[in-house]
Symmetry: C2
Subunit: 265 residues, 2 copies
Amino acid sequence: MSSTMFVDRTAESGGGAVGDASTELPVPPWRKPRKSGRSAAARRPLTRELIVEAALRVLDAEGLDAVTMRRVAQELGTGPASLYAHFANKDELLEEMLDLIAAEITLPEPDAARWQEQVKEVAREIREVWRGHRDIARASLGTIPTGPNQLRIAEGQLAIMRAGGVPPRIAALALDSLGLFIDADVIEGAMMGEKGATNEEAHANVAVYLDQVRQYFTALPAERYPNLVAMVDELMRAGDDERFEFGLDLFVRGIASHARGIVSG
Amino acid sequence: MSSTMFVDRTAESGGGAVGDASTELPVPPWRKPRKSGRSAAARRPLTRELIVEAALRVLDAEGLDAVTMRRVAQELGTGPASLYAHFANKDELLEEMLDLIAAEITLPEPDAARWQEQVKEVAREIREVWRGHRDIARASLGTIPTGPNQLRIAEGQLAIMRAGGVPPRIAALALDSLGLFIDADVIEGAMMGEKGATNEEAHANVAVYLDQVRQYFTALPAERYPNLVAMVDELMRAGDDERFEFGLDLFVRGIASHARGIVSG
DNA sequence: ACCTGAACACCGTTCAAGT
DNA sequence: ACCTGAACACCGTTCAAGT
């Protein structure tokens, strides 16, 4: 309940539609534009919120590399210079995009008895939300959370671990390491499926690429790389959810062992 | 011994010096350039090796963002188009840079009795070599190793774990997860110190930035973020070696527990 | 205060033309 | 076969000028 307090999903209204009834009617040719060549989308004055939402639309449709000041401005029917009245630079825009996305993440009420499972739940939740927005994790990796929603999530993760009896030093280190691991996992996953506009195209491309890699590894000289060649099948399972669950389990076991001095199993 | 077989350190000769005796003498003004305005560096015909070495020089001096086809070409006294006779695109150049850097990594002979410590040793070695080349880890994260030196390292890691009795499936998952963690750690570390040409400048900038972050966290409303505020000191230790050792220890304990069914301690 | 056109100093990549 | 100048279609950011 209280965990959704700060959630803001305005970005999902997107698409530029004014209301439910407006289903992209053609503009009557006799109605001239009010002043100059401005597009309909540019009518409303710019705000930070409108800009972030436009950037998010570009991200979801085309990936982080497509999120340029020029492309976002185009989405709003204006030029790149106009954005600098609201954001000092592109990094500031990326930060706000990341926090708006972080708003989608919901947290459980800390339950001391279930803290290990809850740490995993939150990690999976962060991963899924990140994965829902292409390669946004690239903007998260290596940054210190400062936005309200990123702070809310960090606070929630710490609360769960502290409730479970994890000492402060261990909880802090775990928060940090786990964040690195989640971001890295999502970035790897996004890189695999980055080509191809549609999801089907991306899936097909990944399959073709992985098959080429498998052939390459199989053709490697076995006397030089005996383990690599022998373990092709195990190695090719990368990118799967299995890798993430494996690493996640390692982390939580380890945190628990640090918390209580010995592993319970 | 055999681990250094493929090592190639030619990149470290760098700087454009021809031999030990040539200590940057001024060019006599009466000696006209041989044909046109070509610089001395451009005299030798281009090869893939010369290009990769030039790119590595730019990387070490200015970071990965400075490694552009134009900047590398400039380093060689030519134009960007010339590089495309030797590399299909920038990604191919980055791959070869990464593999040349990976050549610096040395591996221990697998010792079944010490496999856990050896896994850690190799992880630390990879981290140190990556850290020695700015943010090159950004080019490693999310890519499948294909170059000879990257393959050599993966093979070595697998050999150590297999010698220690780690089952193939676990070894493959661990290799993958550990790679993600190392790359992410180095990227985070590099982002912290990315500003400032000299190391002293970078260090000073990081200190200033971290102090600002500390103040920001301390000023946060304690009723909303009780754990974050209470744990500022623990959280600010990020980027330190402690975080890496913590995560590394988690991984190795976890691998061992998967290998033998239960943790020995 | 907010917005804009034009410019500055860059990108990766291509291609016809040279040797 | 290798190299090049020039061009194409982009970048982030600044700034004087407009409203």
